[in-house]
């Protein structure tokens, strides 16, 4: 028989009769009522679905096929986003650029998630001197002008995609660590942790099986907001020529390339720029919606 180690439901006796509603089903209902968040989620699903499946979609042009005879054409029926100077289809370039941008966003966020959650959980759970030293280290990193370090890292070592993942992920984990630590601090003295300990669970199991799952709400919200932040930073670095390198292209490099021929072929900057902006906007809407849904106390600017 498995012993329930989840937090004991603190249902007052007079409420016990009504069917139990978990935090998640409550949150789900609240989220569904938020039209902006739902539309954003649908848009993001569409964008990421198209990007992920691009090579297998029927009718999707190859983004690297050049056709100099049809170079630099404005949007038309056959090329809805126009073509670039080399005659490559801009729509396909934007879709494939989205693959890279979204991939960077997801992977770097994942890197920051793993580091941040582990670090924050350990600091918060250990407490005392360990906590103080670990968080002081985070404070110091916080005060570093990190974007310069990222720039230097990319300039001096390598401009590969892997380096980009690492550099961006390394920057983003700090806030996550702080959030998780705060959560763990308040959770670790609760009864269900005591119960787990009484049942003989080790520190590792207590932290990662019992405490961390209960920090999921804020972590999900912050993760949703980290993805656009990372995509934006990748685009920023790519715009400066430090991020994604040719022949790969991301939305950032497309905007950067397009900006150079702005006066002649404005559609080359307009479409990737619009896709990038819309995607960031939708992530922000979704993040806001999730925060309102998952964190009812933090609704002061909503009511």
């Amino acid at each position: 028989m498995s012993i329930g180690l989840a937090p004991p439901a603190t249902v007052a006796p007079d409420l016990a009769a009504s069917p139990p509603r978990s935090l998640w089903s409550d949150a789900w209902r609240r989220l569904r009522r938020n039209r902006a968040a739902v539309l954003s989620a649908l848009f993001l699903l569409w964008v990421s679905g198209t990007a992920a499946l691009a090579p297998w979609l029927p009718g999707m042009p190859d983004p690297s096929v050049q056709d100099l005879a049809r170079g630099a054409q404005p949007p038309s029926w056959s090329h809805p986003f126009g073509t670039d100077e080399l005659g490559r289809d801009t729509f396909a370039r934007v879709v494939y650029g989205g693959r890279i941008s979204l991939l960077v966003g997801l992977v770097a966020t994942l890197v920051s998630l793993v580091i941040g959650v582990a670090y924050g959980a350990v600091a918060g759970y250990r407490g005392g001197k360990t906590d103080e030293v670990m968080m002081r280290f985070v404070d110091i990193l916080y005060s570093l002008p990190y974007i310069f370090l990222v720039i230097l890292l990319l300039v001096f070592f390598s401009r590969s995609l892997v380096m980009l993942f690492v550099a961006l992920g390394l920057v983003q984990w700090l806030t996550m660590a702080r959030i998780v630590r705060g959560q763990v601090l308040s959770l670790k003295s609760q009864n269900f942790v005591e119960a787990a300990r009484a049942l003989g669970a080790g520190d590792f199991a207590i932290v990662f099986r019992h405490i961390v799952p209960n920090t999921l709400g804020p972590v999900i919200v912050y993760t949703t907001l980290t993805v656009p932040a990372v995509i934006l930073q990748e685009a920023f670095l790519s715009f400066l020529g430090l991020g994604v390198q040719p022949p790969d292209a991301s939305w950032g490099t497309l905007v950067s390339d397009g900006a150079r021929v702005l006066a002649l072929f404005p559609w080359l900057v307009a479409f990737p720029g619009a896709m990038l902006s819309l995607t960031l906007l939708c992530f922000n809407f979704l993040g806001d919606g999730l925060r309102d849904a998952l964190d009812p106390q933090d609704r002061r600017d909503v009511n």
Partner: protein, 305 residues
Amino acid sequence: MTAYVVRRVLLMVPTLLAIATLTFFMMRLAPGGPFMAEREIPGPALEQLRRTYGLDRPLHEQYLRFLANAARGDFGPSYRYQGRPVSEIIAEGFVVSAELGGWALLVAVLLGVPIGVIAALRQNTAVDFGVMAAALAGVSVPNFVLGPALVLTLSLGLFWFPPALWEGPASRVLPVLTLATAYVAYVARLTRAGMLEVLRQDFIRTARAKGLPERTVVFKHGLRLGVLPVVSYLGPAAARIIMGSIVVESIFAIPGLGRYLVQGAFNRDYTLVLGVVLFYAAFLMVLNLLVDLAYTRLDPRVELS
């Protein structure tokens, strides 16, 4: 108060030391050097160059000498801009960047705060929703997308402003607008949330109860606490504006610090990059201290510890 300031200033020293050490060794560990230029430099000449810049000394000696000089604000000569000390380049670039960033911050506060107050006073009306949706859009459009868009419409389309460079007042408009928009939006959001929080507190009800005109209640009593989130955001905002100005300076070909940083990094201009990074770091820390001090002025409940 004095003790607090002194302690904060003393705390900056180890942080700056850490940054200096990190950047110094990162650059020395990196493959390639400042003189791996397009042209091959003949051996003896290279030796001569390395001796001039002290690169032939042992690493720890270079490091210590760098620290001692940097403490006096002397970052040595630039590797790339022949015969020009880094501190001179920084001073020159900073004037430009500070003007750009200062205007952007000013625009952000002067537009963002009123917009936020209006949205808060009209909470849950069409005005509020419209303003907040626009603000979220403003936060989401990256400045390197906004910049070209503004150039395309206002400069190449309507010929209102020059598309680039930093000469004359008209040339300031587009870069400042490009840099400021995201912060106008963010400040508006912060102000709205702050005002909503404050306006439902007891002392506001008291002020209304004793018959003060609504204008006094909102602007004299409410705004003072309502803008606190904005004040504490100014430190991080300045940091992000610096980052943003790198892009804006690139778009509009403005000779500011950010542009020197990016070019210095590409050219492996060690001394220039180190100087700029350290300068930025110190500048940001001083700025954050000032923000914390301003905070206590506005909110009597906050005590410095």
